[in-house]
Amino acid sequence: MSYKLPIGNWVAAGVDWLEHNDHGLFDKIGKVIDASTGLIESGLAFIPFWLLALIFIGIGYWRLGWKFALFCAASFLLIANMGFANQTVVTLALIFSATLISLTLGIPLGIWAGRNDSAEAVIRPILDFMQTMPAFVYLIPAAMFFGLGRVPGVIATVIFAMPPVVRLTSLGIRQVNKEQVEAGIAFGCTPTQLLFKVQIPSAMANLFAGINQTIMMALSMVIIASMVGAGGLGNDVLSSISRLDIGLGFESGLGVVLLAIMLDRITESFGVKRPVR
């Protein structure tokens, strides 16, 4: 076959057209994301680093016991000692805003997909696309639309981090015991009552697993997003690569790993069990 479909040309033309004809809309979206991320960041920055550490330690103790609290304390001490306190706050803010956006969009989408087969049929390939398309491919157009900085970083992160919560919410809704759903209907539930009193509570474990995965994905993507100037720990990773500074690379990488372990265990604990009282 000698004829090549000009898919690349079409997409490039589409992006070009969007950039010139819809600039106002992207600007507004960008401003909202920028403002909210900025708010979260300044909010987190307002909290002293030691207090942030205390919050993690406290939640760690509440959810998982004193051993994990000790681990949190050691991690924060190490992060501060390596000099990554400020970057960690910025990274956390990026993760929070990206996760917040992912969940606000993702959970309702997941519920919709869980209750409606045609919705599921449309949403699934889009999720595959979002998860597997290499991040750099949309990182660059995102930077073109929104300029460099944290906005394209957050958007790229949302694209990458949203699919797990959609998938697992949908799965959770679909896996609710058939007789439990029947019981809901038999006792006179409206579709809304059925959703909030039967389906969502029963899907909670899956929902939390989805939230946990979304946060982990957000963390890994936030590092890559520093390439478009999102800031945070990723900056240090990036500059260590460009300067071939193996020491700095390992230190900043370690900071990311510690943050990841803390976020993972804490969010996971909400889905698995009730706190030990």
Binding site: N177, E179, Q180, E182, A183, G184, I185, A186, F187, G188, C189, T190, Q193, K197, V198, P201, S202, M204
Partner: protein, 405 residues
């Protein structure tokens, strides 16, 4: 079928076709085609086929059949968990099949409830929250609904577990919660889909007793799906036998036993003929509590008897004399009654009647007696010595097995 004044539910020419072309399939059925032909030609699965029957006010109506006979589909057509394809389901004069969504919600909330095979409790809610679920859906405020739920939990003996989670309870207790949830809305019609089938035989009997007791306190109309013959005979006022989506016969157990409509019904109820050569001895088992009568015992053996019955979780015990001969049967109730009346001997607590079955009696001759006696029956040899007992379950299981073999 004429409508009598005491009919609670009237089902008329009810059909359910599963698939994307129900109308085509329905037309073929109306034209007299067999449901297997419908499946082959159109790919439509016929679940319920031209079902018509009436359920009387205040009776326990058992839907019986093998798996795949359409009984679970049929019970779900009564509250429209499954949409009927054609026909009508008239409950208290209203056609459930045609009523508006709003009326249907109202009916489900106020006057109909359901108990499920897998219990279907909501795992994130405590026992009392589960029991109050129906009232919560109907918008009854917290205090009132918990009060009403608590009353029902008392009735089923679970009031002390109100704040526990369902996962902390045994299967039998979980189904009591399921029953409480259905009773709390105070429905006049209760649907029970294989409600006790997931329980072990002992718990199943216990739950049947709970149901019968509740039914004595307040008459409700109960539709009970079961594949267990013993259960149907025990609790059903009338039994409806289904085969392949069709209602084959409706009647009391005696009517069906005496005049089975076809071989399928016979297979269910009447394995007897093939079992002439089996005798009482063959299925007698020594699993019952036996008590020896000791005339010289100053304590009369009352408390020991009660304690042993409690230990083995039995309601009846056989009294034997020292030569192993059967003296009679006592129940926990008769013992307690006798103690209260100041009785001196175990003999005073015996249940009236002659229960002993000679060991060489053919099974087909004892079917009636076993089915119609509440307690297990003792089997005795030629010398009158106790050799074992026959329970309903053991007898019916034997009959079913022989039939299948």
């Amino acid at each position: 079928m004429e409508t009598t004044s005491e009919a609670k539910v009237v089902v008329k020419n009810l059909y359910k076709v599963f698939g994307n072309k129900p109308d085509t399939a329905l037309q073929m059925l109306y034209d007299g085609k067999h449901k297997d032909d419908v499946l082959r030609e159109t790919g439509q699965v016929v679940g319920v086929l031209d079902a018509s029957f009436e359920i009387n006010q205040g009776e326990i109506f058992v839907l019986m059949g093998l798996s795949g006979s359409g009984k679970s589909t049929l019970i779900r057509l009564l509250n429209r968990l499954i949409e009927p394809t054609a026909g009508s389901v008239i409950v208290d004069g209203q056609d459930v099949a045609k009523m508006s969504k709003e009326n249907l919600l109202n009916l489900r909330r106020k006057d109909m409830s359901m108990v499920f095979q897998s219990f279907a409790l909501l795992p994130h809610r405590s026992v009392i929250e589960n029991a109050a679920f129906g009232l919560e859906i109907a918008g009854v405020e917290l205090k009132e609904r918990e009060q009403r739920a608590m009353q029902v939990l008392e009735q089923v003996g679970l009031d002390t577990f109100a704040r526990h989670m369902p996962s902390e309870l045994s299967g039998g207790m979980q189904q009591r919660v399921g029953l409480a949830r259905a009773l709390t809305v105070n429905p006049s019609l209760m649907l029970m889909d294989e409600a006790f089938s997931a329980l072990d035989p002992l718990r199943r009997t216990e739950m049947q007793d709970v149901l019968i007791k509740l039914q004595q306190e307040q008459k409700r109309t109960i539709v009970f799906v079961s594949h267990d013959l013993d259960e149907a005979l025990r609790i059903g006022n009338r039994i409806c036998i289904m085969e392949g989506g069709r209602v084959v016969q409706v009647g009391t157990s005696d009517e069906i036993l005496q005049r089975p409509a076809n071989d399928y019904v016979k297979a269910f109820f009447n394995g007897v003929d093939t079992n002439k050569y089996l005798t009482a001895k063959d299925i007698a088992q020594k699993e019952q509590v036996t008590i020896f009568e000791r005339p010289d015992d100053p304590a009369n053996g009352f408390s020991a008897a009660l304690e042993r019955m409690r230990l083995y979780d039995r309601v009846y015990a056989f009294v034997l004399d020292e030569q192993q001969k059967i003296v009679g049967i006592v129940s926990a109730e008769s013992l307690v009654h006798c103690i209260n009346q100041g009785g001196k001997k175990l003999r005073d607590a015996l249940l009236p009647g002659d229960f002993a079955i000679p060991e060489n009696t053919p099974l087909n001759q004892i079917l009636h007696k076993v089915v119609n006696t509440p307690c297990p029956l003792p089997v005795v040899n030629a010398y009158g010595e106790y050799i074992g007992a026959i329970t309903k379950t053991a007898l019916l299981r034997k009959l079913c097995k022989e039939k299948l073999a």
